[in-house]
């Protein structure tokens, strides 16, 4: 059975973007800090709308931030 996994580089991007805090990013994209924490830790895959909002904050494309991998479970 295939297991889907979306990883991201938000933590690194925040650091490279004037050491932006999770709260600042959350305020910019209109979610709570806990949601940013969950996304960074891979506990939540954001909606397409939120993914676009995050990508616009960093002036990057969605695929530059989020990557999709499909793992095969044995």
């Amino acid at each position: 059975m295939a297991k889907c996994h979306i990883s991201n580089t938000i933590r690194v991007l925040r650091f490279n973007h004037h050491e932006m805090t999770q709260q600042q990013l959350a305020d910019l994209v209109g979610v709570t800090r806990q949601t940013i924490v969950a996304i960074e830790n891979g506990k939540y895959s954001p909606s397409l709308e939120l993914a676009f909002k995050i990508s616009r904050v960093f002036n990057l494309g969605v695929e530059d931030i989020f990557s999709y991998t499909e793992e095969q479970e044995k």
């Binding site: 209109g30 979610v31 709570t32 800090r33 806990q34 949601t35 924490v37 969950a38 830790n41 891979g42 506990k43 939540y44 954001p46 909606s47 939120l50």
Partner: protein, 148 residues
């Protein structure tokens, strides 16, 4: 531990506390009054209808106290809105809640088939309402910790 997890743990404790005390009070009244017939149905209907506002008011008070105490201790302010992560967890928890309540409803109706008293049916209904809420909160805590 995130704010949402702490809030849900508080909600679970307050749900157990409020339901436990209220049910104990109602059951004592039931034993003392020894009601029968139509009065019995009226008694349980009143008990269930009063439970709703009592639960809302008491849990609101407990939540306000929690926000104040949590704010003083952690200096963390409560999120002023629910975002998509909160909403998806709420929906998943609601599904669990509905499933358990419907299961309880069928058990309550089934108890009548097996010659149980109407009081048993009402008690099962009350408990299924409580359990559906308790499990939904536990499921929320689990999803906030594990992710969705």
């Amino acid at each position: 531990m995130t704010y949402q997890v702490k809030k849900n743990i508080m909600q679970l404790v307050s749900a157990i506390f409020v339901f436990g005390i209220y049910f104990w009070y109602v059951y004592q009244q039931y034993l003392e009054r020894n009601v029968e017939g139509v009065e019995l149905f009226r008694f349980w209907a009143t008990a269930i209808l009063i439970l709703i506002p009592v639960t809302i008011v008491l849990r609101l008070i407990i939540e306000i106290i929690f926000i104040i105490i949590n704010g003083i201790i952690t200096k963390e302010s409560a999120p002023s809105f629910s975002d998509e992560f909160d909403k998806i967890i709420d929906l998943k928890a609601m599904r669990v809640s509905h499933f358990i309540f419907i299961l309880g409803f069928f058990v309550a109706m089934g108890s009548l088939l097996f010659d149980s008293t109407p009081s048993t049916m009402f008690i099962i209904l009350l408990f299924s309402g409580f359990l559906s809420e308790a499990f939904s909160i536990v499921w929320k805590i689990f999803l906030y910790q594990r992710g969705v």
